[in-house]
């Protein structure tokens, strides 16, 4: 569904992405993990067409990403960022339906989809008319996810979607998100710096370091067969008070 080939992106002296290639199939969840500054967010933004690579090829749904196809490709994408990226002057409802409105959906169709999504994301219907500032952090994140899913895109890109939340809400949302991912059968690419979260969601974890893919595999593979000193240090550093994880 999403193919990256030899992506290079340089910012002045810094090589943010150094020859990254990656393939994400239908109905699979890939997590980009790694320490901050490793290039994982930049990679996601390359797919979203927000960052132009210096060289390399991006293909989404068989279409190569170029300035002229960017709009078409974005129609295939749902994009969720930390704290939801909601427009503060629009209510939760208006944030969610903004694309549908532009596509001139009928009111009935819009409303039906809205209800479906609020059920899916466990977002209270009576809070739909509130503004983002009147919602909790977790609720804002759920609205962000609803907005990304509104027009049923094939690919879901999430950049640290749970980064700003406190642990309990984070836990709830992790459960809900995992269920959403498995029910909707979308290609999901999720960025996180938290290996536990990566383990929870991912079929496959891509561990990045300094603009390169250091190692990819399941959480167990990374823990048991670290390909480098960096991988084992990164895995060890994340062994905290967690229960039932292969990372321990």
């Amino acid at each position: 569904m999403v193919e990256l080939e030899g992506i290079i992106r340089r910012y002045d002296d810094l090589l943010a992405l150094d020859d990254v290639s990656l393939s994400v199939g239908k109905a699979s969840t890939v997590v980009l993990a790694g320490p901050s500054g490793c290039g994982k967010s930049t990679l996601l933004r390359v797919i979203a067409g927000l960052v132009q690579p210096d060289s390399g090829r991006v293909t989404v749904g068989g279409i190569e990403l170029t300035p002229s196809t960017r709009t078409r490709i974005r129609d295939l994408l749902g994009y969720v960022i930390q704290d939801g990226g909601l427009f503060p002057h629009l209510t939760a409802r208006d944030n969610v339906i903004i694309r549908a409105r532009l596509l001139q959906w009928t009111a009935d169709r819009t409303e039906a989809r809205l209800l479906e999504l609020s059920e899916l994301t466990h977002f209270p219907v009576d809070a739909l008319d509130r503004f983002p500032a009147q919602l909790s952090g977790g609720q804002r994140q759920r609205v962000g996810i609803m907005r990304a899913l509104m027009t049923d895109p094939q690919v879901l890109l999430l950049d640290e979607p749970l980064g700003a939340l406190d642990p309990i809400i984070r836990r709830d949302l992790q459960d809900d998100l995992k269920e959403i991912f498995s029910r909707l059968e979308k290609s999901v690419i999720l960025v996180t710096h938290d290996l536990h979260e990566a383990e929870w969601f991912a079929d496959r974890i891509i561990l990045m370091r300094a603009g390169r893919i250091e190692q990819e595999g399941t959480a167990a593979e990374l823990a048991e067969h670290p390909g480098s000193e960096f991988v084992s240090r990164f895995v060890r550093a994340q062994r905290t008070a967690d229960f039932g994880s292969v990372l321990r």
Binding site: A48, G49, P88, H89, R99, P132, A133
Partner: protein, 507 residues
């Protein structure tokens, strides 16, 4: 739709002028007492012929009045031969009165015979200061070092003023400041300056018992007061002109000084003093009407609002699109902020004078109520805060929101109107508020081109050293600024989207 309606309404409000009284004859005066009194005399005499007459009082300078006379916006005013020869026609090297008449004729202007008094320039000092250094003549000034000169701004520049005086006498004072003439009087009294330029028929010379220094090298030319008027006006309103010309040779220096004294020292209105003189000298009586303070304030308020409304509204409609363009193109942004910034640095009076020929060339009204010069100057001053705040409001939008809008594929127009402008609205409104408050302050300068407003009583008050009159303009101007500030707080409630207000208050 609602937005379009609001814009149309604003446009309409911006271009519809306040109906003003139509007059057939326009008298003008410069912003010193003698000129205003003479203007009032002309008005009374023209009215006596049955015409409807308006008096544009206290215009900001010789250039402004003379240009207005040339362009036909003014029909008649009192001028001085020395000013005509040495200032207005300085480049023509005029030898005598007859040549002056010919030059004027070519511009479609005529000049009367002298009114009877010579109001020349002189230098004045406080008597104690002059006596202690035994200064009697201008040459004596060279004997004393450390003197501080405070000279009228116009005198500083005029070819018959300071530059020539300095070289004729070889003067080399410690310090020379260009000041407003009325302010110079204050500074002299306070001992902040030692020497100032005076007009010889001024009442304050006597009132302060100033020592007028003898022009021992006969530098200053004669400044015989004359009536300057348009030839076409003389043809059209022959009776009015005949009446005004009755003043030729009828005002002696002592009489003029006494008229000036009655206004400046005895605080009698110019209108009353002029009426008394015309009645005594020419036997023509007139009714003196004082509309009272409240009516005056109402009038200045309406004039002031007119200036603000017709400059601020177009500025808003013009500056917001400019700010949007500035936000979208960095190069254009730098350019447009630079240009609007330059307007801010041009001194307001200079901008007004610079605009007069431009406005006249465009066939617009350059002086008087609703003068385009004042509107355009205020319009230009109002641009920068709005352009800058629109630009910074748009470029300051959280990058995460910009990117969300990008990935959501929002079309450019929709994105600008529905996302970016609402998010930038607090900043844009703050810019408009700044522009409005600045505009209200700057609009007091409209009085310099006869546009009225709160600047009028302030200008008169400074000239007459009348604090009450100054406050009559200053207090309403301050109140209006405060009310505008308050009104914008209300507008913010309405115009800034609720969600944005909630967000900023929860932070």
């Amino acid at each position: 739709m609602k937005r379009v309606a609001i814009i149309l309404l604003l446009l309409l409000a911006a271009i519809v002028p306040r109906p003003t009284e139509q007059v057939s004859i326009r008298v003008a005066s410069k912003k010193f007492t003698e000129s205003v009194i003479l203007g009032e005399m002309f008005r009374i005499l023209a009215e006596d012929s049955g015409a409807s007459v308006g008096h544009l009082r206290e215009l900001g300078g010789t250039r402004i009045v003379f240009e207005a006379l040339k362009s036909g916006e003014v029909d008649v005013y009192a001028e001085y031969t020395g000013t005509l020869i040495n200032e207005l026609f300085a480049d023509r090297d005029i030898a005598g009165i007859e040549q002056l008449r010919t030059e004027l004729e070519q511009l479609g202007l005529r000049m009367s015979d002298p009114l009877g008094f010579n109001n020349t320039y002189a230098l004045g000092m406080l008597p104690d200061r002059a006596a202690s250094d035994q200064i009697r003549t201008i040459s004596d000034l060279n004997r004393v070092s450390g003197l501080r000169f405070g000279l009228g701004s116009e005198f500083m520049e005029r070819s018959d003023g300071w530059p020539g005086l300095r070289s004729t006498y070889g003067l080399n004072p410690l310090q020379v400041n260009g000041l407003d003439h009325d302010i110079a009087y204050r500074q002299l009294q306070l001992g902040l300056i030692d020497v100032m330029d005076v007009y010889t028929t001024e009442a304050r010379i006597d009132a302060l018992n100033l020592t007028v220094l003898e022009d021992d090298r006969n530098y200053f030319p004669r400044y015989d007061a004359v009536i300057l008027y348009r030839a076409d006006f003389a043809d059209q309103y022959a009776a009015a002109v005949r009446n005004i010309l009755k003043l030729q040779g009828r005002i002696a220096a002592g009489e003029m000084t006494s008229c000036n004294r009655r206004v400046e020292i005895d605080s009698i209105t110019e209108q009353q003093v002029a009426a008394d003189f015309v009645e005594q000298t020419l036997g023509i009586s007139s009714k003196v009407s004082d509309p009272g303070r409240l009516a005056r304030i109402t009038d200045s308020t309406l004039d002031h609002l007119e200036l603000v409304r017709r400059s601020l509204l177009p500025a808003i409609l013009f500056a917001i699109p400019l700010g949007i363009l500035a936000a979208k193109s960095r190069w254009f942004g730098q350019f447009i902020l630079g240009v609007t910034g330059i307007f801010q640095t041009i001194p307001s009076f200079a901008l007004l004078v610079l605009l007069i020929p431009v406005v006249a060339k465009l066939g617009l009204q350059s002086i008087g109520a609703g003068a385009s010069t004042a509107m355009i100057a205020l319009f230009l001053y109002s641009l920068l805060p709005i352009v800058r705040n629109t630009q910074s409001g748009l470029t300051g939008i959280d990058n995460a929101l910009q990117e969300s809008a990008s990935v959501l594929n929002l079309p450019a127009r929709y994105r600008l109107l529905e996302i970016e402008l609402p998010l930038a609205s607090p900043s844009i409104l703050a810019g408009i508020k700044t522009a409005a408050v600045l505009n209200i302050g700057f609009a007091t300068l409209g009085a310099l081109v006869g546009a009225g407003g709160y600047g009028q009583p302030i200008l008169s008050g400074i000239r007459l050293n009348d604090t009450n009159l100054i406050l009559e303009g200053a207090i309403p101007a301050a109140l209006l600024a405060l009310m505008t500030q308050a009104a914008f707080e209300l507008i913010e409630r309405y115009a800034v989207p609720k969600g944005v207000r909630l967000q900023s208050s929860s932070r």
